[in-house]
Amino acid sequence: MLSQGLDTESGRELLRLRGRNILLTEERDALRREKDALWQEREALRQERDALRQERDVLRQKWDTLWQERNALSQERDALLSSTSWRVTEPFRRARRVVKKLFRRGIVEQSGEKDTEPLSKNQVQIAEPDVVEPPKEKGPDVSVSEGTGEDVCPASRTSEGMNGTSSSDDTSDEASPAKTAEPHFRPSGLALEALCWKAGCSPVNLLEGKGPRVSVWVAKRGNYFFHDIARLIHSGFQDMGVQSRLIIAASEEDCLDPVNLDIPLRIVVAPHEFFLFIPEAVAWPLKGERLWLVNPEQARLGWFAEGAKAKYFGRADLILDFDQDNVRQLLEAGYPAHYLPLGFSASCADFGGTAAIPLLKDTEGLPRGTREWQADVDPLAEPLSDRPLDCCFFGVSTPRRNAFFAQNAPLFAELNSYLHLQDMWRLRPLVSGENTSLNTISASSIVRRSKIALNLHQSDNLYFEWHRLVLLGMWQGAVVVSEQCSASWPLLPGRDYISASLADMPAVIEFLLKSPKGIAQAERIRRNALETLHKHSMGNILARIVREHAMSRKEVAHA
């Protein structure tokens, strides 16, 4: 019928549209050319800016070194002048000057002897600089493993001894462009202990002291679930009794705010996003502060290559990763890395899940009874079977997941299910209120009302999706049914969650929901999971990492 309609209006309309199409194509090509030119110009300006920055950093470094030298010399001079020995020996020096003058006038001139003044032992000690110079020798090449027992975090290893430097050297590798690509690490763990032992001192925890000791950074325009992870780490430090500050940064100005800059430990969550949105932060000034990066991404998604290319890996004192394979890859590439499982934090209220599900675009399709279902503070208080939703899933829509849900559509239509599949065409950072109405509170509230939380991988990669399995699963007291995942201490399949192939998953779901034996199994497993999470709290996990990596030798010297 449409073609008939067009036939009656004949080719005029078609010609008009074709003509319009040609004009628009030309316009588009012109805009593209203009864009390319602007792009090139921008690249040139960027290069110029980077060169200027490097130059600025070199000058800053020189300035800092000279300033430190001057201060050291001033202190030395002051110490010398105010020392008792200096005052006591003053008459002798005066006498010696007089004698020297006499010698110079005649007697000594004949012998030709030089004026060489031997220094006392005491003077030699005073002459040593107060500031500990960075040791230039290669540190001990030690890899430390705490073992692989159940209660010991596996892959808690560090690559050490690349360059043992004091914190005053933080910007030194930027002074020399040739060195920027070189990883630049401080000794930590056993290596640090060894160095301290040799120097006759003991390491001091950087996080001990007044005021905020940790700043946790995340990009404001980043995915909301990376904000969740930042909040959790921030809460973990607070649970440890360490004063922490959460900074959701939007621009370079935020990064340069002096209030935040002298906090000893700087932790950047999701650096692939952070340095993308705030590229200037790659050259972030570090004057003694430690920089740790927290990677929540799968290595295959390009973050690894990006981190090495953009050189922020090289500036990090430690890279924390949720995946043990990623940690191994980082260590093999020479970066200091540590496995970071996500644990429970009672002070992280966003994951409470008890609030009624807010009425949002993404949740309006839930029945009122489900949205307003009263959840107890304790997710284990009520039996799983009382929860109104049977199962839920949150994730990006991929062909693999789509095929699974399509194949099993009759089952998910029968169950009270909630499948939140984020469309690929919206695949950019999920910002609550912009391209998704969901936020942490609403998502956790939905899981809090679900019996089963599903986990399906995006692809064939077995990456353990911590956010989905733990924060939007076990933490909410739902039983997690997941595809097989890579090993992720301290959580075990069969004990803390149920592992099943995609083919078996529908039967597993029905068994857990409909069979008395399955219902009992689900109860047991969700209780195990919460127990494991409580046992390995975020505070405990971070404390273990801090013990090994947030120790400093320099502070000992100052002390």
Partner: protein
């Protein structure tokens, strides 16, 4: 329009299911079975045939005779002449008595909990919500590998700019009637314009829809399906014409 079959148990219905039938003899049985299998009990079923040339009406009559007791009211009516989807659906709508109306094409089907869940939700939502819809299973009898879960976007008039994305939904009967049903324009019938224009009219009048994040419907892809036709060459022209027709929503084309 004349009546080919009438029946039912005479009880009041909560949902009316309107089925448009035109040469879908191969599919109508599955569609009707899926309606009969609904967990919702109080339903009326109105099938309107647009002068099919195949056995569709005969199959429907036989099926209705076998399932007459399942429905509050049961009709098979037939247009006097082929009038297109919009006019046929409007004819069926005129017969509906239930407060909610589900529009089903004879080549698609719905899962057993579909109407019950959609009805509960529509009852609970505010009055400005004219319809509720859900994720859909999109399937192809020939090419099974092309089956997918269609995760339809949330209701957003701006998304309509990209095309119609809601094919099946449960409507408030009063909302449908307040707009005079579907827009009848013979020149643009048979290609799914009526669904698209209905949604645009909803948007222009401040009505909205709510999505259920669960697959409750199944949409069949085949040579004659609306989606298939809309993906054809006429697409660009179709949308251009539509944008020109609704400058309030899209600006000038």
């Amino acid at each position: 329009m004349h009546e080919l079959f009438a029946g039912g148990n005479g009880k009041s219905a909560e949902v009316a299911v309107l089925v448009f039938l035109y040469n879908y003899a191969g599919y109508i049985g599955k569609a009707l079975d899926s309606v009969a299998a609904q967990t919702l009990k109080a339903m009326e079923l109105i099938v309107c045939d647009d002068c099919s040339t195949d056995e569709g009406p005969d199959i429907t009559i036989r099926w209705m005779k076998a399932h007459a007791g399942r429905f509050s009211r049961l009709f098979l009516v037939q247009n006097a002449a082929n009038r297109g989807r919009a006019a046929t659906r409007n004819a069926a709508l005129a017969l509906a008595e239930a407060p909610y109306t589900f529009i089903l094409d004879a080549d698609n089907f719905i899962f057993p909990h579909c109407l019950e869940r959609l009805r509960v939700l529509l009852e609970e939502t505010p009055e400005e919500v004219a319809f509720v819809y859900s994720q859909s299973l999109v399937f192809d009898d020939v090419n099974r590998s092309s089956c997918r879960l269609e995760n339809l976007p949330d209701w957003d008039p701006l998304c309509l700019w990209l095309g119609n994305y809601i094919a099946m939904a449960l409507h408030r009967t009063s909302a449908l009637r307040s707009m005079g049903g579907y827009t009848v324009e013979p020149s643009c019938d048979h290609v799914g314009w009526e669904d698209y224009k209905l949604l645009i009219h909803y948007a222009l009048r401040g009505w909205r829809g709510v999505k259920v994040s669960q697959p409750l419907m199944a949409y069949r892809i085949h040579e004659g399906s609306v989606g298939h036709i809309l993906r054809g060459e006429k697409n660009a022209t179709f949308y251009q014409a539509l944008w020109d027709k609704f400058p309030e929503l899209y600006g000038s084309g």
